[in-house]
């Protein structure tokens, strides 16, 4: 998939901070990102890097205490600062979410058919009977076998993978333009995960849905993403088409992540994993420095006194925020 065509979702300079008892937490700082129609963008980074906060801010899901600035446009319509009623309409019909733990988003006392049906009755003004028939279609679409029977089961009667499929069916019930999937397979076994990733791919292929998938698993990214955004400490560290990112990571954090993961065919007897010393910082304010400098093997004075801007690093649509981008293959980069 290429990024041809006007983006369906356009995030510009998004920043989010939270006032807390111990002071302000700056969670997201100046994130920009486009999502083209029918494109799957993967967002990756360690926990606390601001992936979920970015995702939630798109359709106004953050708690009221959050201070959000910047711009999020859906087909040109500004969502930041939009009225709650307008956002609610957007959330039902245009932007849908799925999360790691489907059970917390499903109502345990309603059958899955009723839950999907309610979405259709509210947003599509469908009749009860029509919505039930549509629910069966949707369950089939997300790969649930014997959907006509499953439509009458309760969430607790389903496996974790089936529940996640039901969540996806609910999410796409009104044919949203954008699906935001925050760690949708993290709690699932790999055999089940493979099926869920397949469903997301099918939705894109059959309905043209754009997908923003958030994960910390580089394998999932390699499997499903067209383009990748690497987040670090609230900022975009690097953004590139998926092949380019894995073959030529330029930001030192991306290179570090890649060489920290065990590679097929490697064993402790002959290879050491490359560690990234230290931790993702929790920042009160955004420093005029590279936020990775404390952990970076290539950091110098400049990295500690000026924030590197996102800049082209060769290749099409490949940008990184690093004063000293890696030149070499990932395995060599951080040695």
């Amino acid at each position: 998939m290429t990024t041809a065509g006007a983006p369906v979702l356009e995030i510009r300079d998004l920043s989010v901070s939270f006032p807390t008892e111990t002071g302000t937490v700056s969670a997201v700082d100046g994130v920009s990102l486009d999502l083209a129609p029918g494109e799957i963008v993967g967002m990756v980074g360690e926990s606390g890097c601001g992936k979920s906060v970015t995702a939630m801010s798109i359709a106004g899901l953050l708690p009221g205490s959050a201070r959000v600035t910047g711009s999020v446009r859906l087909d040109g319509t500004q969502l930041i600062g939009a009225r709650e009623a307008a956002l609610r309409r957007v959330r039902g019909r245009e932007i849908a979410y799925i999360f790691q733990e489907p059970m917390t988003s499903l109502n345990p006392v309603l059958t899955v058919g009723r839950q999907i049906g309610e979405v259709l009755q509210v947003h599509e003004r469908m009749s009860r009977r029509a919505s039930r028939a549509r629910a069966v279609e949707l369950l089939t679409l997300v790969g649930i076998p014997s959907a006509a029977q499953r439509v009458d089961t309760y969430p607790h009667q389903l496996s974790g993978g089936m529940r996640q499929r039901v969540m996806i069916a609910m999410a796409v019930a009104c044919g949203p333009k954008v699906l935001v999937a925050d760690e949708p397979t993290t709690a699932l076994d790999v055999t089940v995960q493979a099926g869920i990733l397949q469903v997301l791919r099918n939705l894109r292929d059959q309905l043209g849905t754009s997908v923003l998938i958030i994960t910390h698993d580089l394998g999932v990214i390699a499997d499903i993403a067209d383009r990748v955004v690497v987040m670090y400490a609230g900022r975009v560290a690097e953004r590139a088409p998926v092949d380019d990112l894995f073959a030529h990571p330029r930001h030192r954090y991306t290179a570090g992540l890649l060489s920290a993961s065990p590679q097929p065919g490697r064993h402790a007897g002959t290879d050491r994993l490359t560690e990234i010393p230290g931790l993702v910082p929790v920042l009160a304010s955004q420093p005029d420095a590279c936020t990775f400098a404390d952990r970076c093997p290539a950091a110098d004075e400049r990295c500690r006194t000026a924030a590197p801007p996102l800049a082209g690093v060769g290749g099409t649509d490949h940008v990184a925020a690093c004063w000293h981008p890696c030149e070499t293959a990932p395995q060599e980069a951080n040695r």
């Binding site: 360690e46 926990s47 076998p145 496996s159 974790g160 993978g161 089936m162 499929r165 076994d189 790999v190 055999t191 089940v192 995960q193 493979a194 099926g195 990733l197 397949q198 910390h216 698993d217 580089l218 394998g219 999932v220 990214i221 390699a222 499997d223 993403a225 998926v242 092949d243 894995f246 073959a247 570090g256 992540l257 890649l258 920290a260 993961s261 065990p262 590679q263 097929p264 065919g265 490697r266 064993h267 402790a268 290879d271 050491r272 994993l273 490359t274 560690e275 990234i276 931790l279 993702v280």
Partner: protein, 333 residues
């Protein structure tokens, strides 16, 4: 010279929680100084095997031998001298460390419980080098667990597990709750310690890339039973059991070009219940190659080198169909 007994020998282990058949006849041997990975889906019984070995639960049947001693039915008092021989590390270091105890006390606790006569001074003297060994500064001993990061807490639980110099370490998802970069340091640490100290390890995990990195042998569990066992090299190169093949095909590799060529075998999400496992082969409800006999006859274990696979289609020479390439209709005709 008499051969040294294995670090761990589990024979026909059964653990039923009321009607839940969590573990249903597992046999497994770990030689001294070797790492065996135990893999399988959530709920397949991996942790329960580990908990039986350290006697956190009392097995329903079967035997557990540690360094040649049958510890299955030893009373608490008679278990004591063997306590130090096996330790366990859990997935969630936050939940497994007592928040009211200082790190130093936590690490020294196994020495206190071992019943060996040792003064507080002697115990404390053992703690500092132990912390350094896992990459923590000695002053961490005076902190509380909540003052540490997730990776540091996991190092503390590894330090505690290893202070009694066990012959066997049970590591139950030790890196699953950690970020990639922290995971790397904990895997490196386990590899280093294992090489230097030479303990044997039962490494329980979902993460197949960590398995390939750390394990010597691999045991694959499905619904309370082992379906395959073998060397790391053999399992990754030539998995024999359809479930193992499907599992390996489903784990995505962090390389988009290679990943695009791979085709996961989709099994369907409906895991049968451990309350009422399917007759015959327990994998048959999801196996792409299942045929009549699979419903009526429990597959025998076919030896493959030092390991085995339990599937009707695996031949005595260890060969058989591969669900990743086989066309089910042809396999059975």
């Amino acid at each position: 010279m008499t051969p040294q007994p294995n670090a761990l020998e589990i024979t026909d282990l059964v653990m039923h929680f009321g009607p839940v058949r969590a573990v249903d006849g597992v046999s497994l041997t770990i030689p001294r100084g070797r790492v065996t990975a135990l893999v399988g889906e959530s709920g397949s019984g991996k942790s329960t095997v580990g908990r039986c070995v350290v006697r956190l639960v009392e097995p329903t049947a079967g035997t557990v031998r540690i360094a040649g001693t049958d510890v299955t039915h030893l009373s608490r008092r008679h278990l004591r001298p063997h306590r130090g021989a096996v330790s366990i590390v859990f997935q969630d270091p936050a939940a497994s460390l007592d928040p009211r105890m200082l790190v130093g006390e936590i690490v020294a606790e196994p020495l206190r419980l071992s019943g060996k006569r040792m003064s507080r001074r002697e115990r404390e003297a053992r703690v500092a080098p132990q912390l350094e060994r896992v990459g923590l500064r000695a002053e961490v001993a005076r902190r509380y667990p909540h003052e540490l990061s997730g990776g540091q807490r996991q190092r503390v639980s590894i330090a505690r597990a290893l202070i009694s110099e066990p012959m066997l370490l049970i590591a139950d998802e030790p890196t699953s709750a950690l970020d990639v970069s922290v995971q790397a340091s904990v895997l490196n640490l386990l590899a280093d310690l294992q090489r230097d100290i030479g303990f044997a390890c039962l490494f329980i995990t979902h993460d197949l890339s960590a398995v390939e990195y750390l394990a010597d042998e691999i045991a694959v569990m499905y619904l309370g039973q082992l379906v395959e066992r073998g060397s790391r090299e053999r399992i990754f190169a030539r998995p024999a059991h359809p479930y193992t093949q499907a599992l390996l095909s489903a784990a995505p590799v962090a390389d988009p070009v290679r990943q695009r060529e791979r085709q996961p075998v989709l099994l369907g999400d409906d895991l049968p219940s451990a309350l009422d496992p399917p007759s015959g082969c327990r994998f048959r409800t999801r196996c792409p190659l299942a045929f009549d006999r699979c419903a009526t006859e429990v597959p025998a274990q076919t030896a493959i080198g030092d390991g085995m696979a339990a599937c009707h289609l695996v031949q005595p020479d260890g060969t058989g169909p591969d669900v990743r390439t086989a066309d089910p209709s042809e396999v059975l005709s």
